[in-house]
Point group: C2
Chain length 134, copies 2
C-alpha cells in the first residue's frame, strides 16, 4: 500500500518479565531491511525529519515515549499518527514529507528498505513538491 | 567470526537534537535481517534469555539503560558484555547459551538472521551441552 499507515506487531510478555514486540520481514515489515537506526535522548518537543525519500520505504516505531509523525503528500494531504505504544508502527512510503515530534523521553526505532544514499533524500520542501508534481 | 563479540555502530547527533545510531546489513550487521524484536518495561534485575540457537545469529543492543549479556559456549567458556551505550552491540553466534540481565529501565533491540522457528531453540541447558558436544 503506497500510503502511510499503521502496522501492528506481534506482542508477548507481561509486567513480571517485561514486554517484547516482534516484527519479521515479509510479515509486519513489508520490505527487506537494509538499514536500521534508533534515536534517543531527544529533548522534549523536538521536531526531526523534515524530508522525503525518492525510493526508501520506512517503518517507524516509538519503542518508548510518544512520537507524533506527520506525513504530507505532494498533493497537500496531511496525516498524523500518534505513536505511544511499541506494538504498532507507522509505514512511510517514499513519497511523503515527514516530521516527527518527540515527547516523554521517546526512543525511536526505524527500519529502512535501502542503505544510506544522500541522493535519495529530498531535504527541501519546495524541491519535494516539485519532484512529485505530476 | 563465530564467537560473541562487540560491534560498533555509526553514530551521529548531539544533546540539542538527540542521538542517532545506525546499522546497515552487510556492514555493522553481518547477516540479512529476517526478524527484529524489542524488549522494554523489564523489572530491574530481571534475567531473560536462558537458551541457545541452532542456526540463528543475533545482534543485541541496549538502546537505553544497561544490559549485561553473558554467553557460554558448550566447552564451558564464559564471556560477559556490559552494554550501556547504544553505539555498540554484541554479536551472538548460534552456538552460545546466553542470558541477559536488565537494569535502569533498559530497552533492548535484537536483530535476528532467521524468522522464528521453535525448533531452532535449545531451551534446556543439558540439551544445549549435549547438542554441541563433539
Amino acid at each position: 500500500m503506497n500510503t502511510a499507515h499503521l502496522i501492528e506487531f506481534q506482542h508477548t510478555g507481561n509486567e513480571l518479565i517485561g514486554m517484547l514486540d516482534i516484527a519479521e520481514t515479509g510479515k509486519q515489515i513489508p520490505f527487506e531491511v537494509k538499514r536500521v537506526f534508533w534515536t534517543h535522548s531527544v529533548p522534549n518537543g523536538t521536531i526531526r525529519g523534515k524530508h522525503a525519500h525518492k525510493i526508501t520505504e520506512q517503518l517507524l516505531i516509538a519503542v518508548k515515549g510518544k512520537i507524533i509523525v506527520t506525513t504530507e503528500k505532494a498533493d497537500g494531504n496531511v496525516e498524523k499518527f500518534e505513536l505511544t505504544n511499541s506494538t504498532e508502527g507507522v509505514y512511510l512510503p517514499p513519497n511523503v514529507w515527514h516530521t516527527m515530534a518527540y515527547f516523554d523521553d521517546a526512543v525511536q526505532l526505524v527500519f529502512c528498505s535501502t542503505v544510506y544514499r544522500e541522493d535519495d533524500y529530498l531535504r527541501n520542501y519546495e524541491q519535494f513538491k516539485e519532484y512529485y508534481k505530476s
